[in-house]
Symmetry: C2
Subunit: 432 residues, 2 copies
Amino acid sequence: MSIQESVKEVKAASVVLAAVETERKNSALRAIQEALLERKQEIIKANNKDLERSEKEKLDPPLLKRLKFQEDKIQGVVDGIESLIQLKDPVGETLQSTAIDEDLELYKVSCPIGVIGVIFESRPDALVQISTLCLKSGNGVLLKGGSEAKETNRILFEIIRQAAEEAEIPKGWIQLMETRDDVNVMLKMDEDIDLIIPRGSNDFVKYIMDHSNIPVLGHADGICHLYIDGEAEVEMALSIAVDSKTQYVSVCNATETLLIDRKIAKELLPSLRDRLKEKDVTIVGDEEVAAVIDVDETAGEQDWKTEYLDYKIAIKTVDGLEEAIEHINTYGSGHTDAIVTTNKSKVQKFMDLVDSGNVFWNCSTRFSDGYRYGFGAEVGISTNKIHARGPVGLDGLLIYKYKMIGHGNIVDDYESGKKTYRHRPLNKSFKL
Amino acid sequence: MSIQESVKEVKAASVVLAAVETERKNSALRAIQEALLERKQEIIKANNKDLERSEKEKLDPPLLKRLKFQEDKIQGVVDGIESLIQLKDPVGETLQSTAIDEDLELYKVSCPIGVIGVIFESRPDALVQISTLCLKSGNGVLLKGGSEAKETNRILFEIIRQAAEEAEIPKGWIQLMETRDDVNVMLKMDEDIDLIIPRGSNDFVKYIMDHSNIPVLGHADGICHLYIDGEAEVEMALSIAVDSKTQYVSVCNATETLLIDRKIAKELLPSLRDRLKEKDVTIVGDEEVAAVIDVDETAGEQDWKTEYLDYKIAIKTVDGLEEAIEHINTYGSGHTDAIVTTNKSKVQKFMDLVDSGNVFWNCSTRFSDGYRYGFGAEVGISTNKIHARGPVGLDGLLIYKYKMIGHGNIVDDYESGKKTYRHRPLNKSFKL
């Protein structure tokens, strides 16, 4: 089957899947759980092939760790599916209801988006999470995983596809793509694909935006800031700075630039340096910082724009809150930015004026995450300013349609003045 | 000032405007109302210039009617602003609140999108509606109106800009563009513009999608269907068919294709023909239709894809509900589609499986409209499947940000097991 045909098949299946009842979707999820456990040995065997090949190809150890998908991670995704089964079906919820007239009712009802294309890194657990999220939310899905995981992806896809179809989920709702060429074909099919979620490098996300008219949900950069105000508690500021930078350096919600109010710089910097050096963090500081402590590199404008994703931090002194906000809105990526201060009116201003999806007071930027937010399952983090922003859970895979129930009503009666609109809230769920 | 500079100015102003309190926004709206009334003569004079030039250039009478902006229409937009003042401020609403831990609170709070670019037809009332909607929702706006209305647009823009700035709305929040070249520059500025709303021809909307990475909210086509089922009440079906087609033919929610269940075709078609002929509708029918009544043209596949926007209708016989749904999902534009039947299970299936923003039962497709839905103000109608679908009111100009309030919380405490997440709903509004 060509990619075009696969996409058309997903599209056709997605229309039917949109109307599949909760029970059948949950049975399919349960069948997937069982099949993953039953066929564990096949999965491990496929994953070993990927691991052996990738070791030979000298894949970086952190990437090998992500690629590894054995006993514990299989149990992890099975547990994840359990949480998903427990979640309320997000489809078919009445979001608004209005009596347009006594015999004309309007309902705004949640429904799946349709067909989602997801391109993800070499992490087999992502394949299971994404496809089961799409199933629960009634969306068809096109998957393209990292090539290092191709054997594992193939068997996981096959297990999920087969288990879902046996549970009477419309055939063709899920498809696996294996090459960049497939992705390029997909990017042109804006009539059939409703949303692309690319998880991967910055350049890759930009490439997709440049080569497709399909809406894209995702984030290009994660240049997060921590601003330590002159009225901050020093010990709290130090602890949050160290956590924001070093708790896990290779993720998008780690802080890349620390902005320090000039008023507190001399007091704070020596201890900050000690605490960061305990974790072997390379310090890139501006001239004022360098006048107070030893820095490893002098910071230039390029540093304010760089996502290090490493044990490395840029530190800049600023002349208070306004300059911090200005800096964040100029160089930040609209992801997550935090302030440490004891002054509430400064917090108010920071939260109002920093144009980011997540604005925090007195806590680590590392909290910016769907699991920590309590969403259960996460699709990804969005720096979009439409549809979904910040960590995106099941909600991000939904839209709505308007359903109107009439009794022969025609517009001419209202335009001619024979009848008049009422526009009264109904506060009831859609039911025929 | 270059267009790039204008866009940067709107961007900077939009950040401040996002935090402007309700009272100030409403005072500005009131100041705009007053200025429009005070400077009525200037507006009428400018509009007369546009009308005279356009008459010389032989602009079509319906377009001249839209261009005309005098006493009554000025009063109309002033009344519209009054409704907008009465609407609740949509910014700053808490959409969700969660205790992540006893001392760590997360709030999802509505906020403006940022900078909206709107390209609209030669209808001066649209300029006033769009800019006041953006002001109320706290968004910066770039306006580009049809060139036939350029004198009227210029004076209206000047009045709104000046009145808003005198009411202390951040300078630069609104900008007027006058050429296609300006638009082309704008389309490339995806770093500074968050959403484009194009109102205009199908080709123009497609042109924008092809030339920009900025998300687009709008509709390309309005190919709406009315399906008359074999179990329909004949008199109701006839009345809805005539209204859906002829109540106002040049709009996107008028029905273009009528699908008739074969079982009822012979009974329905002769009366339908009479009723449509009373309104001088050209009938384009398939062979089965032509076997029952005289048709003006024989329908071919091209007709199923055509938005006539005229007193012209395509009629096709279908073999019941399934074929109707299949036809709509194949040829429709996802805008508005209606079924006439007395059978509820058929309605259920139709509403579930027709993949359109608006699905109606026993009423005219012409109801698909923000005013009729009771939204007060309308931005436009969207056939997008993300962010906003169907008629879009103020809501479509909003997104949200997550605000987190901590007390020195760090992620390491939770990952190390020292603390645990609670994820308890808070059910309270954001307050520092």
